[in-house]
Each structure stands twice: as C-alpha cells, then as structure tokens.
Symmetry: C2
Subunit: 118 residues, 2 copies
DNA sequence: CGGGTAGTACTACGTCGTGTAGAGGCCCAT
DNA sequence: ATGGGCCTCTACACGACGTAGTACTACCCG
C-alpha cells in the first residue's frame, strides 16, 4: 500500500464518514472550506480509485464513489505495514503494547480475549 | 514523524543492526551491493541526521553516525501514528488485534499481561 | 431546436521529497 | 608539498501530489 496525501486523506475522511456513495460534486460541497475547483476533486477521486482506495459506479452521467475498505481496516493495514518493516516483529509488538495508553491497552486486551474465545 | 525512502531505510537498517557508530565510509562498504558514490551515502546520512533519526559525533575528521532510537521504537511510533489517523482509535485497535496472526496475538497478550502486573 | 449546465476525460504545471552524485576545500601522512 | 580521504555545498532528475484548465458530451429548459 501507499500513504495518502493531505487532500487525498481529507477526501477519504469524507467518504469514510458517509454510508452512501457520493458524486464528485457532493464531495466538493462537503469539502467547501477549501474552495477547490471541481476538477481538482475529480482528479483526486480518480487517483484514489486508481490506487484502489475507492470504487465507483455509474449514476446517470456521474460516478458515485465509495471506499473500498473501512477506515479501520486501512489503519490496521498501515499498522501491519509498519510492523513488517522490522526484522523482529515480536520486539516491535511488545514495544507497541508498552507504548499504548492504559485505556487502549484495555481495548487490546479485550479484543485479544474475544479472539481467543472463538 | 515522516516516513523514510528506500535508500534511507536501507541505511537505517544497517545502523540499527550495528552496536557501534559507523562512519559514512563504513556504511558505504556495508551497502556495497548498490554501488553508490560515497557522497551519496554522506548526503543521506546527513539528511537522516537532520530529520532526527541519527546522531553524529566527531571521530577525527570523520563523523560517526548512530541511530537516535531503536528500530522497535521507530516501528512502534509509526504504528501509533497510523492509529492517530482514525477518529475511532478503539475500533482500529480492535481491528488490528483481529488482523494480527495467532502467534503475534500471543506476543501482544504477553506484553499486555506483563504491563498489568507492574 | 439551440444554448446553458453538469459531468467526464485528458493534459498540465509547480512543488517537494528522495536518489544520486559532482566540485571544491581542508587536513594529515609520507 | 602532494595526494588521498573526508567534509560541505550544490545540483539535477523523477515521481507523487495539489491544483486546475480545456475540450467533449449529454441533457434539460425555454
């Protein structure tokens, strides 16, 4: 996978926050604070699609864009990718567990416990 | 923090694998498979230093370079950074725990248990 | 039916990070 | 004093990303 740029991430955030697929125009409206040209939004949506982050389906003349994976899945994948970078995954994981805040450690514990029960 | 490029990472890998600080020349020798000009290695070492990944100390005319943090710490930080990208850290963490392989889940469990005991 | 409108595809350009390296300067050993 | 080793500075190409213009098409309104 590859990281996302600033604008790309903003747009992904918008789409991740939505349940229904959006058109470029709609995304542009939701990102109005940045006052971007409509073509800019389209270009970025296009690039995101080509990179595999979005799926698009026709709706009349327009395309509707939709994330291919949830943000959580994306974040988890990024974390795994970071993990892949080390020779010693065990050490890195341990380190990670130690670095995470207490409440987050709880969340991890819970998730891991539930896993075990299956 | 910021991600590293391909060559930057190779060089960090070399330095992380070493216990003693190395000079540019020594790094260049260890990365011989790529047949780089000595100045290339120096430039990259310099950039890594400026980015805070390396510390350097004088040794005669030469500099000796040394990682500022362990690779594990770096990886853990990257993982946390990915985690920061989401609105719902809990969901992402849960997802991560579920995605990790079985043996890695064990490692996490162990680290978290030890944490708890302190 | 003709033009505005919305939407698309294609192309473009500036900037920044990174890989890569040359030019020139300084110092020590021979 | 001379040459090799090491440094600093500068440079350049390339790809990713932010940003946007242009040109083409299909449709609705009057």
């Amino acid at each position: 996978m590859k990281g996302l740029g600033e604008l790309e991430r903003s747009i992904m955030d918008i789409l991740w926050a939505q349940d229904a697929p959006l058109t470029a125009r709609e995304v542009g409206r939701l990102i109005a604070d940045r006052d971007l040209a409509p073509t800019t939004v389209m270009t970025v949506l296009d690039r995101l699609t080509r990179k595999g982050f979005l799926t698009r389906t026709r709706d009349g003349r327009a395309w509707r864009y939709e994330p291919g994976a949830s943000r959580d899945a994306y974040v988890a994948e990024l974390m795994l990718e970071a993990l892949d970078m080390t020779g010693d995954r065990s050490a890195a994981l341990t380190r990670f567990a130690q670095t995470v805040s207490g409440s987050e450690a709880d969340i991890l514990r819970k998730a891991l416990t539930e896993l075990e029960e299956e």
